[in-house]
């Protein structure tokens, strides 16, 4: 490998390290961690497990509700590989948009949402449910600025069972140590 390429790789690796730290809730970069009220304290919703073969990862789902400001709760930062499901909406396999949230990383370690941006149309997402396994296929993946979160696309009624995977992503605001966007994966039951 040539020296210039090595240098580039080192630079990229350094940038990635910065990015992952920045989306971690700030435990190691001096930022304030997420307020406790933003992190769900609910337990696992029994019977549901999300598996993404392409990412070689699997998680049970904890229940996510709303914060006092009506923003959606997120899974605990203490367990970055824990995904959660918004319980004021349909569950995976039911008609409607089931919303699954995961951190892209936390506490310096990769989160369940780290690879969401790599999911492309046709990729499989499997969910075990109390009524049996349900297979979803990704229809599209988008990264939207947080200020322009596509609420209608994410939460509006659907004609069949659908899935939304949400994590942070997009452009990093270095000064704020924060991602400016959200990665949203749309999937439909197949």
């Amino acid at each position: 490998m040539s020296r210039p390429r090595t240098a580039v790789l080192v630079l990229v690796a350094a940038l990635l390290a910065l990015v992952t730290a920045a989306c971690s809730g700030g435990s190691d970069d001096g930022q304030q961690p997420l307020a406790a009220s933003q992190q769900s304290t609910a337990g696992v919703v029994p019977g549901y497990t999300v598996t993404i073969p392409k990412l070689n990862e699997s998680s049970q789902l904890i229940g996510l509700g709303l914060n006092a400001d009506k923003s959606i709760q997120v899974p605990p930062l203490a367990d970055p590989m824990q995904a959660g499901v918004y319980t004021k909406g349909p569950m995976p396999g039911q008609t409607g948009p089931a919303v699954v949230l995961a951190h892209i990383n936390a506490n310096g370690t990769p989160g369940f949402g780290e690879g969401f941006h790599t999911l492309a149309a046709g990729d499989t997402i499997n969910v075990t449910t109390p009524n049996g396994p349900v297979r979803f296929a990704v229809t599209r993946t988008e990264t939207a600025p947080k200020a322009e979160f596509p609420t209608a696309d994410v939460y509006s009624d659907t004609t069949g069972p659908e899935l939304r995977l949400i994590t942070c992503g997009g452009t990093l605001d270095r000064s704020a140590h924060n991602y400016l966007g959200q990665t949203i994966v749309y999937a439909k039951k197949v």
């Binding site: 920045a22 989306c23 971690s24 809730g25 700030g26 930022q31 304030q32 961690p33 997420l34 009220s37 933003q38 304290t41 609910a42 337990g43 696992v44 919703v45 029994p46 019977g47 229940g63 509700g65 709303l66 914060n67 006092a68 009506k70 923003s71 959606i72 709760q73 997120v74 499901v85 918004y86 319980t87 004021k88 909406g89 349909p90 569950m91 039911q94 409607g96 948009p97 949230l101 995961a102 951190h103 892209i104 990383n105 936390a106 989160g111 949402g113 449910t129 200020a147 979160f149 609420t151 209608a152 939460y155 509006s156 009624d157 994590t167 942070c168 140590h177 924060n178 991602y179 959200q182």
Partner: protein, 113 residues
């Protein structure tokens, strides 16, 4: 996960064999979400009578996800949270339909502070 903890100053849901409050026009023991102070209490009762995602016991789980009475604050430490403003919250977000019973505002803090 951690077991539900009920603060000492809150009403504790009686066990299933305890007499349930009676209301006119409803079968004995049939409760609704208004009978519970917290989601945890509703969940405890719901599961005690066999409720699950496939058994909407006492119709406490209208969306059949195994979680009872989501209209009650479910984080256990924010009992003042309003959960009944579907469709009239004046937010700029417009959604259609009611599959999602309460649409969150804005983005999710899945990273960053």
């Amino acid at each position: 996960m951690a077991p539900n903890s009920v603060p000492a100053n809150r009403r504790v849901v009686p066990d299933n064999d305890a007499p349930a409050p009676q209301r006119a026009g409803r079968p004995a023991g049939d409760r609704d979400c208004a009978d519970f102070a917290t989601q945890q209490q509703a969940q405890q009762y719901f599961e005690s009578i066999g409720g699950s995602s496939t058994n909407n016991a006492d119709r406490l789980d209208e969306n059949h996800n195994g979680v009872a009475c989501e209209s009650l604050a479910d984080d256990g430490d924010d009992q003042n949270a309003e959960a009944t403003t579907t469709g009239d919250d004046g937010s700029t977000a417009k959604t259609s339909g009611d599959q999602v019973t309460e649409v969150p505002e804005g983005s999710a803090q899945t990273g960053g502070a």
